[in-house]
């Protein structure tokens, strides 16, 4: 098969994405480590795109991390998910949008299982009623939050203040993307572009003016592995997986890494720091790391939002080299300010990894 043919395989994997009136379910990991990404997502939808997106304070963890740590049965997990659907049903907004890939994968898995085993759906309904006296409808549509940005990528690009173009060379920035295993490895037809050639992030990068760089370990796991990271004794697995990706992508000199899953940007950011401390290795230019962005942060960057509103100051790998390449102004004196504009001190500098 010719490469050009392969590059268009993603077109076989499309799905319906609702145009408006969403129910938003937040991500535990994204809220902990990338809080501004969720804030930005809602800002873009409401202020830039004029969409209605509803949330309910009563929604909780979907138990995805707990389920994949093998702590609960599928009965527990599917009933917690049924409760999330109950909140969605109450709201009247049946286009469910998950901020988390683990959640998205799990919702997909549960809905698929209920198709194959209707008695399990009945069981979920009975257990939910017994526990909470709640009932639910299934979502009219299910999307990961990145699907929504993908759907409106051209509208966003039309409003953008910056393109992913290197200011000095005039060339498109080179971007590697990391899709997150549970987006489409389990159910390829539920993700834009499928599992082998997922297009959800590629579509954004291309719309925003960048160039996607292919590399051998593009589809390798970041190494979260649930118990493989949470338990300290297992983290060799986690860091080795990320390291394999860094070693594979570095020869292609990517300007940044774009991520889909809430956990992956954390690991791809922090393991670069850990590797630099352990081995003295840095993967970016001039002693820096390779900047890692969430798709919400990228969207905010091209729309010209203040980098510190986007939370880029909470990355361990400095993002400033990327901002410099695009020509985005930033004020370092504003970087480490608290909520009322007060200076709250600077973080310690890593011993190897260069930061601003």
């Amino acid at each position: 098969m010719k490469l050009e043919g392969k590059k268009t395989l993603w077109k076989e994997y499309q799905k319906e994405i609702a145009s408006d009136n969403y129910f938003y379910a937040r991500s535990c990991i994204r809220q902990n480590f990338f809080p501004a990404s969720e804030t930005t997502f809602l800002r873009v939808l409401r202020e830039e795109l004029g969409k209605t997106i509803h949330e309910d304070a009563r929604h909780t963890t979907c138990t995805g991390i707990v389920y994949h740590s093998d702590l609960v049965t599928i009965e527990t997990t599917m009933t917690v998910i049924a409760r999330q659907f109950s909140l969605m049903t109450q709201s009247g907004y049946l286009n469910y949008v998950a901020s988390c890939i683990t959640s998205f994968g799990l919702y997909t898995e549960i809905l698929d299982m209920w198709e194959h085993f209707p008695e399990m759906e009945q069981k979920a309904r009975e257990m939910l009623w017994k526990a909470t006296k709640r009932e639910f409808e299934k979502p009219k549509s299910l999307a990961h939050a990145s699907d929504i940005i993908y759907k409106f990528r051209n509208e966003i690009a039309a409003k953008s203040k910056y393109k992913l173009i290197n200011l000095n060379t005039g060339q498109p920035l080179k971007v590697v993307e990391h899709i997150g295993c549970h987006y489409s490895k389990m159910f390829p037809h539920k993700g834009i572009g499928g599992a082998e050639y997922p297009y959800v992030l590629v579509g954004m990068i291309e719309a925003f003016g960048g160039e996607v760089v292919d590399y051998p370990e593009r589809r390798h796991c970041c190494g979260f592995g649930f118990r493989q990271y949470i338990v300290k004794a297992n983290r060799g697995f986690s860091i080795a997986s990320s390291r394999k990706k860094f070693e594979s992508m570095t020869p292609y000199k990517p300007d940044f890494i774009l991520t889909n899953c809430p956990g992956c940007p954390y690991f791809l950011d922090r393991w670069q720091y850990a590797i630099s401390e352990m081995e003295g290795i840095t993967y970016g230019e001039n002693g820096h790391g390779i900047p890692v962005l969430t798709y919400e942060e990228l969207t905010g960057i091209v729309l010209g939002y203040n980098p510190w509103d986007l939370g880029l100051q909470t990355h361990q790998v400095a993002v400033e080299p990327l901002l410099d390449k695009i020509g985005i102004p930033y004020d370092l004196s504003q970087k480490y300010l608290g909520s009322d504009g007060e200076f709250i001190g600077k973080p310690e500098k890593p011993s190897v990894l260069k930061v601003y």
Binding site: C28, I29, Q31, N32, A36, E38, T39, A57, R58, H59, I65, V66, S69, D70, L71, V72, T73, I74, T76, M113, H116, M127, L128, A131, T132, C181, H182, K185, M186, A195, E196, H220, G223, G225, F226, R227, Q228, I230, V231, K232, A233, N234, R235, F237, K244, R270, W271, Y273, A274, D309, T314, H315, Q316, Y336, G338, S339, I344, G345, K349, P350
Partner: protein, 235 residues
């Protein structure tokens, strides 16, 4: 105890994940865990499919079933639509149900997971919570997290979060009635029973190993299972 293979068959994930494995080894080739650990999902599929009770019991008490990271890369590539990752989940469930998990170093770690992401889910409504995450236990979070952690409320507010606040938003305080509903779901669906079983089996194992054990994260057994790696897990 009944036949182990029958127990596996009762798990819906076994039915979803096993469709006459042809032992081609594609799962092992693609598996990130197989690259790192002394782990071969193909062999596990062979052993489970054989229905050999001794081999299944060996799996339930051994290290191998705990190496998988549940990335589910195996599902994408299997030419017969098997999912070794789902078979691993079914094996882990039976291992915990029968108390076999405390027989292996990696299996014993279930107590750490239960007392962290498991309990945080019930206590906070989030499987992770920033107050509980420190660079002592997660040093790779780096100095940036120390800064963020020391200024948590101010940084969260700066980034638009509603940390521990009422109403909607990032890291809002989940209302108590919602937490009560989640607790009740765990109670009705057997989630609490699983948690209690992990505790009880772990307590017995700690006693057998002559290690201190209490309900906190600061006891000899907890620290041992959180940090110990005998170095025998890799190829």
């Amino acid at each position: 105890m009944g036949r182990l293979i029958d127990k596996l068959h009762q798990d819906i994930r076994y039915e979803e994940g096993m469709n006459a494995c042809i032992n081609c080894g594609t799962c092992t080739a693609i598996c990130p865990a197989a690259e790192f650990y002394n782990y071969d999902p193909r062999q596990i599929m062979i052993d489970v499919q054989s229905g050999n009770e001794e081999k299944i019991e060996e799996l339930l008490k051994g290290e191998a079933i705990w190496y998988c990271g549940e990335c589910m890369s195996c599902k994408t590539r299997c030419p017969r639509n098997n999912t070794p990752g789902l078979i691993i989940m079914a094996l882990r469930a039976v291992s915990q149900e029968l108390g076999c998990f405390t027989e292996s170093e990696k299996g014993r770690q279930q107590l750490v997971l239960k007392r962290t992401v498991g309990e945080w889910s019930l206590k906070y409504g989030y499987c992770m919570y920033p107050e509980a995450l420190t660079t002592t236990n997660f040093p790779e979070q780096g100095p940036i997290w120390d800064w963020e952690h020391a200024n948590l409320h101010m940084v969260m507010k700066r980034l638009g979060a509603n940390y521990q606040g009422e109403g909607n938003g990032v890291l809002r305080r989940i209302p108590q009635d919602a937490l009560d509903e989640i607790y009740k779901i765990f109670e009705v669906t057997g989630g609490l029973d699983r948690f209690e079983n992990i505790e009880e089996c772990s307590r017995k194992k700690a006693e057998e190993m002559g290690m201190g054990f209490d309900e906190t994260h600061n006891n000899e057994y907890f620290d041992y299972i959180f940090t110990t790696n005998n170095g025998d897990h890799q190829k």
